[in-house]
Symmetry: C2
Subunit: 205 residues, 2 copies
Amino acid sequence: MTASTGSGAGTRPRRRADAERSIARIVAAARGRLGSDPNATTDDIAKAAGVGRMTLYGHFKTRAELVDAALRDAVQDGDRTLAAVDLRGDAYEAMRRLLVSSWALVAESAALLTAAQGVLPAGRVRELHAGPAVRVGELVRRGQDQGVFRTDMPTAWLVGVVQHILHGAAEDVRGGRLELPPGEVSDVVTKSVLAVLATPPAPGP
Amino acid sequence: MTASTGSGAGTRPRRRADAERSIARIVAAARGRLGSDPNATTDDIAKAAGVGRMTLYGHFKTRAELVDAALRDAVQDGDRTLAAVDLRGDAYEAMRRLLVSSWALVAESAALLTAAQGVLPAGRVRELHAGPAVRVGELVRRGQDQGVFRTDMPTAWLVGVVQHILHGAAEDVRGGRLELPPGEVSDVVTKSVLAVLATPPAPGP
DNA sequence: AATACCTCGTACGTTGATGTACGAGTTCTA
DNA sequence: TAGAACTCGTACATCAACGTACGAGGTATT
C-alpha cells in the first residue's frame, strides 16, 4: 500500500479518488507478480490488478517507473516494520527480533529486488534501500560498540552479508531448493546471520 | 577451456581441428562476457571470440545451449580446483584452504550462474552443480562429524549459505558496492563463511 | 589435390515485449 | 448535472534479440 506516486512529491494538481485506487491496486499487483517472477510483463501485472494495460500506462510511463514504484512501496513497508521493532538493549537480541519480524517481507520481495536490479540504474536501487540499510547499519555498529558483534570486518560488509543470506534463502525457497518447513526457515536464517555477526570466541588464528 | 562439446559424449564423427579451436574460443568468450554481464547477446559473445555470429550458430543451435556449455566448462574448472585442494585433516582448515583457492573462480562465474538460471531449466543448473556441491557437502559433513562444524542446521542449508555468501560478495564486487582492496575480499568472505559453519561456543539459548 | 568441412557476411523471418494513438464509454467532483 | 478526469479495448509502431537461409570462399584432412 502507501501510494504517494508523485515522482517529485508535493505540488500535485490532485488526483481523483478512483485513480488513486487504481494506482494502489497496480502497485500491489506489481509487488505480487514481480515478487514471484522478476520477468513478469506489464500485461501480467495489469491483469493481476484487474485493470486494463492502458490504464497502467496512464499512470506509469514506463515499465521501469512501475518497478521503481513497487520497490519504493515495498521498502517503505520494510522501513515501517523496522521502525516498529524495539532496537534498544542488547544488540544481539535486538537483531534477532529484527530478523524474525522482517524475514517474511524480505522473502516476498526478493524477486522484486532482482527485477529492479535488472531495470533500474544501479545507483537508484541503493538510494531506495538507503533507509533500511542505515537502520541495520546502526544496529550493527551499536552491537560492535557493545562488544557483541565482531569488529574485524567493515560494518558495510556485515550489513551486506545479512542481505545476502536473507536474499539467498528467499531464492532457495522460491526455487524449491530448500526442503524445510517454512516456519523453520526463519529460524535457520536468524541463526546463520547471528553467527556471522557475533564476536568470535577464541582469538581467531 | 576443456571443450568436450558433444552433448552425448563418446561416439562423434570427429571434428576438424579448426572447429575445435573455434568452439574453445567461443566457450571462453561466453564465460568472459556472461561473467561480466548476464544479458550479453550472442553477438557480443561472437565478437569477443573473434568469430562471426554464424559460426557460433554453427556450433550451438540455441543461446541456451551455449550458456549450458559455458557453465559446464566453468563448473569443470571449479571441480578441478576442488580436487586439487587437500581436504584431509582438520575440516575447518580444509574449508579455509578450499575457500581461498576457489574464491577467484566463483567470483568470475557468479554472473554466468545468474545467466544460466534465467535461461536453463531449474533442474539442469542443479545437475551441473552437483559435482562441486557434493564435494563441499562432504567436507561440511566431515566437519560436523569432527565436531568443528555446527549440527543444529541441515547440511544442505549450510552448503547453501556458503554459496550465498560467495555469490553475494561477487555481485557486490561486480557492482562496485564493496569498497575493499580486492585482496581483502577473499579474507572477509572466508572469515564470514567459517563463522557460520563453526560450532557455536555457548549453548545457544 | 580432391573433397568434405568450416568460416562468415548479408539478408530475412519470427517472436515477444514495450510503448503510442485514437476514441467511445464511465465515473468522480464541484 | 456539466465537464473534467479516468478507464480500457483495438490497433499499430518499434525495437531488440533470436534463429534461418543461401552461398561464396578458405582450410584441414586423406
